[in-house]
Amino acid sequence: MGQLNIQNLSVNFHSREGIFQAVNDIDLEIKEGEIVGLVGESGSGKSVTCNSILQLLPCPPAEISQGAIHWTNKDLLKQKEQNMERIRGQEISMIFQDPMSSLNPYLTVLEQVAEPLIIHNLATPEEAMQQASDMLVEVGVDRIRTSPNSYPHEFSGGMRQRAMIAMALITKPALLLADEPTTALDVTVQAKILSILKEACKKLKVSVLFVSHDLGLVAELADRVVVMYRGKVIEQSDTNTLFRNPEHPYVKALIACRPTLENSSNRLPTVDDFISPGDSKPKAIKSPPSSAPLIGKKTLVETKGLTVEFTSKDGKVRAVDDVSLAILEGSTHGLVGESGSGKTTLGRSILQLIKKTSGQILLHGLPIQEQSSLQKLHFRKSMQIIFQDPYASLNPRLTIEQTLSEPMTVHGIGKSKQDRKDRVIALLEEVGLNSEHLSRYPHQFSGGQRQRICVARALTTEPKFIVCDECVSAMDVSVQAQVLNLLKSLQESRGLTYLFISHDLGVVKFMSDEISVMQKGKVVETGTAEAIYRDPQMEYTRKLIDAVPRANRKAEFYS
């Protein structure tokens, strides 16, 4: 019998549309001192499971229809609120995904870290503040000594998450629940937070339930992994076994469809490859790496000394600092960096969505200046962009047909309304949708489908160059693989050139022929994708590669 024992748990959500079963009769066990990873994509029910342990789900609309959660001779689901208040923060603590919104902006960080001690009467107010200060230093927030009255908005994301960890561990709980604690953080910060978490928990002998959508990340940390899919636990075993010998086809797919740093194939396997009726063997994954396509290609888009400066209350900030890039026709140039690196600003300024401060942007060797409106229109036809958030990328008031035909109307493509409609249908089919989607509205589609529509929209003007601005970052791994495959096949069929921007090194490497690494507005290193990975020249590049969880680097676990 483990320390925490979930049995037959089922959780329903009631809404106007009906009852949705988020968790369907699951069992889960956490032993003392163990770190258990709970992995699943969106809609798997992992967060709901985690939140129901401490009864933090809003009931209604949630309803725990059956099950028991055993903890030190009690069933947590049967406890009165008063008892739960005693357990929360003292026996079982929790940290959440977004440290900015999870910390109270009106209270100082120190006060909030000290609070659990005060709530549970474990120390006097003065003692509590002192212990909080010590704990914060322990997790690496040294500046609490010099500025003890800091507020959350004065800290960076990584610092805030460290504060949350301090806050959760200050009462030395027996179990820590961590709900996607690193998802909102940069890769290098993520690595640090993980190590702090692992160290602190091992030291204080705290068991951990670590919820995440990133299988590779969980492999770094967990002793055991539990995989959930659509409300059910489909597999659980210790980490090594899961990766070496996954049993369930979905788990095999999850492992396989991540673009790892070592993977050099042209196509990612998708969930469909694994969960198709009857066929348990995946289609060929490893195709020979495409031979160097870079020789003999012309430069399509180029920047020379491009600088973008912003004025804020702290003074002038150089988001992009003297960047010179050359992107070859028909190739994909990857741009990788963390937040604040300037990669997004660079992409948008090439498309003239953000005004550049100085430098040149060249298309086909000719500089793009403040042009006449006719030239501008031509420029807009050739260069397009796909954004990160598929929910915000489509006008909610227009049907798909309207959204896709409008650019054609503006640019004079298509001879009649019917002609345009036919072209729109052709585009939809090209991205894997069909004509019955024409009269629908964006809110009726899933995230992956909306992104496909955005791809179709980018193609309406028959562009040569497309900037992909973190366009798969907001997606589940399985959906990501589909969209990436789509982008690659479109590149082949249409001869497109991509500037592929992402913070995820694995994804960038999969997509790109050449990669530029950016940090604080400057390009730190440029090289072919393989060269950057095998032989990084600069310190920062090495740091980025090291920060990638081991399991996301090698595809060694599955062949």
């Binding site: 498309l351 807009r380 397009q384 990328s393 006008n395 409008e406």
Partner: protein, 288 residues
């Protein structure tokens, strides 16, 4: 999750949600009722609103005079219905003025951004903190009581809230990806404003316009109460209430009926506005 079959536009979804809100639907019926009474009441009533009958002064409500009579023997029902015309007219027209000024101001300020925006909004902030009614009164004192001036002045008071809301929404929208996509696709600013921004602004604008009407009516009523509103013989509910308040000991119905009509109208408008706000709530339409 894709919903099967019929594609509901966001407008249709909102309408369905509104229909489910009983209070809002009731309010709508009440408002329609009051409209009809105000519009056709004076015509259907056998008495005109200004017909004086000094024999029948201060009559309490009976079969002949549904609401009673006032100090000059005038039929209160006719007067109340007629007062409705004035109050509602001022309410709607002044709201229209506010709408036009406020929405244009807010859209331009929000879309232009930068220094133009800060300058324009600084002006709004300054004006917002001043009790405009004081200046309206000042204007009335200096320029005389002109019906047109009245509702332009009132409209000019309420546009500030609409401007602020429009600007906030425009700013939000301007930074969304689908607007950036429109710019990347080479759409002209005009096309973006009218085809992409404005339709997405409609929701909050409708809500606040509905809530502006009662605010405007209240303002007009206060002015009338203070003797600075519409001039006799035109009388809005505000002036009727004023007379009623003065004669309350003798004839409480003179206050009760116009007061009731006025309050119920405000009530219904506020509930409708609240219902619209809930129905158009973007949070509920985000499936995902």
């Amino acid at each position: 999750m894709m919903s099967a079959g019929t594609s509901n536009s966001l407008g249709k979804d909102a309408w369905l949600r509104l229909r489910a809100n009983r209070m809002a639907v009731m309010s709508l019926f009440v408002l329609v009722g009051i409209f009809i009474v105000s519009l056709f009441g004076p015509a259907l009533c056998s008495f005109s609103y200004e017909e004086q009958n000094l024999d029948k002064v201060f009559q309490s409500p009976d079969r002949v005079h549904l609401f009673g009579t006032d100090n000059l023997g005038r039929d209160l029902f006719a007067r109340t219905a007629y007062g409705g015309r004035i109050s509602l007219a001022v309410g709607l027209l002044a709201t229209l003025v506010s709408l036009v000024i406020g929405v244009s101001y807010g859209m331009i300020s929000g879309y232009a951004g930068g220094r133009i925006d800060s300058l324009m909004m600084r002006g709004v902030d300054v004006l917002y903190s001043l009790p405009f009614i004081i200046f309206v009164i000042l204007l009335m004192v200096l320029f005389g009581r002109n019906f047109l001036l009245l509702f332009v002045a009132i409209g000019a008071v309420e546009w500030l809230t609409l401007a602020r809301i429009t600007r906030a929404q425009t700013l939000n929208l301007k930074n969304t990806e689908f607007i950036e996509a429109a710019r990347a696709l080479g759409f002209s600013n005009l096309r973006i404003i009218f085809r992409h921004i404005l339709p997405n602004l409609l929701g909050p604008i409708i809500v606040y316009a509905t809530l502006t009407v009662p605010a405007v009516m209240l303002l007009e009523a206060v002015l009338s109460f203070l003797g600075l509103g519409v001039q006799a013989p035109m009388s809005s509910w505000g002036s009727l209430i004023k007379e009623g308040a003065e004669k309350m000991d003798a004839a409480p119905w003179l206050l009760l009926f116009p007061g009731l009509f006025f309050c119920v109208t405000l009530f219904a408008l506020n509930f409708l506005g609240d219902g619209l706000r809930d129905a158009l709530d973007p949070k509920s339409s985000k499936n995902g």
